[in-house]
Symmetry: C2
Subunit: 395 residues, 2 copies
């Protein structure tokens, strides 16, 4: 038979990144394309010990259906941690455990947006979020991301011109893909504009704990006096990505509706790993573990920057991240991005072209994203050397 898909899904394609991910099996391939945490960042022995104890002493609870909101103890612990680390979460807020930050983003859009409504996002932005918005039929308006965050003049223009805007989606800290961090002043201005035009802000902060340089900046949620900020976080970058555990903190009324939306998507998040996270936070030193990850990424990012400084011609510009997993390189106008990315792939070095992160999928880009958490120190040097030589041959 001929299949007829829903309007919102008919033009949706698999994420370019997930597709690249599949072709990484080639021996000798160096991938700067993934968004994966470093495998050495998983606290395997602690997780194994706690996991075994859950099977031994709490098996029925860990294998049976559970409540949609999430494991009660874990919800308390995450609330406490968010309060301790970021000073966020008031008595008007509630917290739900979701199946990775990705689900938190998708559910937020689902409860707020009708098909055709506008979501404003930084341009470039996280492809997983953009595709989630598209899959719900939302129209995405991109606002240029500058070094210190969204161009707020352009944001106001965009809000004025799109009165059907329901949500502003931002990754203010160690942005994906740009690696940059929004200044406090810009965060305040984004919040002020959201208030003025009465829209919700979805603040995505998966890398918030991974600062390895510079000073912490308050989250936008910290500025939230109206109850208009949904804050999305995750255990993917600090404990394990494969277990799929994230959380949403936000105004009670919004979270209640998100609980209903989650219930019909997957009933609840894997309860065994919710219990494992909870017991990890009770029994282990989460802060010391996060500090180790920071040290690891400080070293890897520092090394990638050293290699870029050494091997990359000065016509290539790149960000100098203070945390997170990514940095963002921009080619000179004389080099065509697609040619460069394909030539790098031929030499088994994988990067993600900036076009993948564009709010307007047909817009051009001269940038590409580099990940430093996954590759080894040797792969970083070899891969950046190859990319540098490639730029020279293409200049």
């Amino acid at each position: 038979m001929e299949y007829q898909f829903s309007d919102k899904m008919v033009n949706m394609k698999p994420s370019a990144i997930r597709e690249i991910f599949k072709s990484l099996g080639t021996p000798g391939a160096i991938s700067f394309a993934a968004g994966n945490p470093a495998p050495e960042s998983f606290p395997v022995s602690d997780m194994a010990r706690i996991g075994a104890d859950i099977f031994a002493n709490q098996a029925v609870q860990a294998l049976q259906y559970s409540v949609t909101e999430g494991y009660p103890r874990l919800r308390e612990q995450v609330r406490k941690r968010l309060l301790d680390k970021f000073g966020i979460g008031t008595e008007n807020d509630d917290l739900i455990i979701v199946t990775g930050g990705q689900q938190g983003i998708e559910l937020s859009c689902k409860v707020l947006c009708n098909e055709g409504d506008t979501v404003i996002a930084e341009n470039p932005s996280f492809i997983g979020a953009l595709n989630a918005f598209r899959s719900l039929g939302a129209r995405i308006q991109g606002v240029e991301l500058k070094d210190d965050g969204m161009d707020t003049e352009a944001l106001e223009k965009c809000l004025r011109e799109n009165p059907d805007t329901k949500m502003i989606y931002v990754i203010p800290t160690f942005q994906n893909p740009a690696g940059s961090t929004t200044s406090l002043q810009t965060r305040k201005e984004i919040y002020r504009l959201a208030s003025k035009y009465d829209v919700i802000i979805l603040e995505d902060n998966p890398y918030g704990e991974l600062r390895f340089a510079g000073e912490d900046i308050p989250t936008i949620k910290k500025l939230d006096t109206d109850g208009r900020v949904l804050y999305c976080g995750s255990f993917s970058k600090v404990l394990s990505a494969g277990m799929r555990i994230g959380f949403l903190l936000g105004p009670k009324e919004l979270i209640q509706k998100i609980v209903v939306a989650k219930q019909v998507e997957d009933v609840h998040t894997n309860i065994y790993f919710q219990m494992l996270c909870s017991r990890y936070m009770d029994e282990c030193d989460m802060d010391a573990h996060v500090e180790e990850i920071r040290a690891l990424y400080r070293k890897k990012c520092g090394w990638m920057l050293e290699c870029l400084d050494k091997y990359m011609p000065s016509c290539v510009k790149y960000t100098r991240p203070e945390g997170g997993l990514f940095l963002w390189c921009t080619l000179p106008e004389t080099i065509e991005l697609t040619d460069f990315v394909m030539a790098a792939k031929d030499q088994l070095v994988f990067v993600v072209p900036g076009t993948a992160f564009n709010c307007d999928e047909s817009a051009p880009s001269r940038s590409f994203r580099l990940n430093y958490s996954m590759p080894s120190m040797e792969e970083i040097e070899k891969g950046i050397r190859i990319l540098g030589e490639l730029v020279r041959t293409m200049m």
Copy 2:
């Protein structure tokens, strides 16, 4: 601020069942309300042993991001099992692992239906599916469920009157909530009508392996020569519900689109438990385990029927299931369902009123659902005795 929800979500309420589930903590409460598998049906020691070995020898793979389609070995094994047990799955079909059958249902509707499109369902039907359709803005048309399945004359009338129908949702085997099984003749007629009116069938079969009496009947998927049947299954009732692992088998082109839709919902399903399921199937005797569950439910269902025969006045009618988790009781016209359910609750016996399963949420019902997998043998006798006495006092 005042929150404005999307049209599709604004009137959505939490599932009545999930809400009842929360109030079951009361000591002495007897719940016939859950849809939970028996806790003694989880193969805990095998899962613990395999789980420990995964942490010891495959930890990085089990904790890192993975592909959206699912763990390749598990996909192969499930395909083989579906072929061996039900004779389904051709070279034109593909299989995706999803986060519980619930996600399979929701994604099927998401890729096929625009807001306002019609989904036809048995009336009554599984509340989780009905709510998933509602959450996507689909209009649900219920077709009366008779003893041998959907009323196919009413189905044809419904298809004729609703040319925007995209999908027929059915649970042909051990239906939830009714506990009844659709005859082969009715299955063939449903398939014929789906072909005639060119719509997709979503066949939900979470209990398919749990037959404890009578003879197997071919699935609708087995009749699928056009590639119009999506078949949804789950490990929830045979290994563990809390781990959230299900699967969808269907035409390649549909599954490819569902992969894209899943990617933006939760990237992939918990990979540790996908690996655990896979190794369980390789290393343990799944058939013997399923046989034990069947024996357990044969005993529990038989006992519930014995108690009903003994304690329930003959004016109450109930189904005699050949498998699955539920039976369905219908009160005489003189007893008001809500009064009965509330009076039972006051005596700490919980049942789900039939109204919860109605396609039209405002329609009345005289039936309620009883679950026999969760309560103990003692609870079954005590609870049914209380319900029987209650009927007598209300007659």
